[in-house]
Symmetry: C2
Subunit: 179 residues, 2 copies
Amino acid sequence: MSSIRYAMLTLLAREPLSGYDIKQQMNNRMGPFWKAGSNQVYPELAKMEGEGLVKLYGLEQHAYRPVRKLYEITEAGREALIQWTTEPTERENIRDEFLLKAYNTWLVEPEKMIIRIEEKKKEHEERLAAYLDKVEELTQLLDSSNSKAPIASSLSVVEFGVQYERLYIEWCDKLIKKL
Amino acid sequence: MSSIRYAMLTLLAREPLSGYDIKQQMNNRMGPFWKAGSNQVYPELAKMEGEGLVKLYGLEQHAYRPVRKLYEITEAGREALIQWTTEPTERENIRDEFLLKAYNTWLVEPEKMIIRIEEKKKEHEERLAAYLDKVEELTQLLDSSNSKAPIASSLSVVEFGVQYERLYIEWCDKLIKKL
DNA sequence: ACCCACATGTAAGGAGTTACATGATTAC
DNA sequence: GTAATCATGTAACTCCTTACATGTGGGT
């Protein structure tokens, strides 16, 4: 499995990045679809360098700061990524803690539950807003509209996010009405 | 975190169950929302028994088979479950491997990608059908329509599943059209 | 003959989270 | 003075997956 390495290659296929950049993009830009801590990113980068999937692209030194080690994807890395992308994917579960809690609604005073649902709704409204911003941003970058641009792929994924957040918000509304 | 124990308590709050039952319900009935292996279920049951959250309800012996050890939730267990349910829940990510692959669509020949998307679509159509069956089943069990019944809570969660699968299928369609 | 369902568990390992360490600068 | 950002990494720990162990009866 170990999809962390493919998440990293996914980003590196677009531009050279440092370990720090990768972490940031995963936790902010890309995401929150796929998160990673530094403990995963740095060792995995080193491992991939050893296997020839990425290589050092250059070093950047900004004044006092630690040296930024930029990595780029190699041809072998690109091939591995394409191979993985076109492989069948295992079934995946939703696994959302709040859904699990929703199973216990009947055990709990409705007022208390409603507070939590409202909270969740707000959270997903925030995410929806963030995704919509991203959609706009990406749409403007696109307009040449060739489906082979990386941006087109990003857009599709973010649009999934938009739909997902909308569904979540609607579901929260329905739940509140029921109680 | 360790939400596995609360997933187990969620099931035990409704009826006494054996470890095997819990595993089965998680991987089939309840799910696939929350999965667990026997290695998690049995030790966790023992731990919870030690903490007084569950207690042995009885033993069942069917002919040649190993003894079924049925557990029931205690008052302390029920309180812990209610406490957890009404606590705020952390933000959670989508984390679907196929979405990650979708970021790489631009790298791959469209025909190859379409094959995988069709596959995924089919998978989610199957799940949708299963969830719809469950909705029907639960709706029939309900009709007395008191929102304090466990079944009402189950229904809400399964309805989320239905909407989720629909959105996934639509998204697959849109992706295919784009390519 | 062979695999699956039932039913309990244990063992080993991989994946992921949280915290720590270092160290200079900028913002409040 | 305190915290946050940049930037690299390590350590410890929990969580989860996969495989194994045992044993009988039923289906193909």
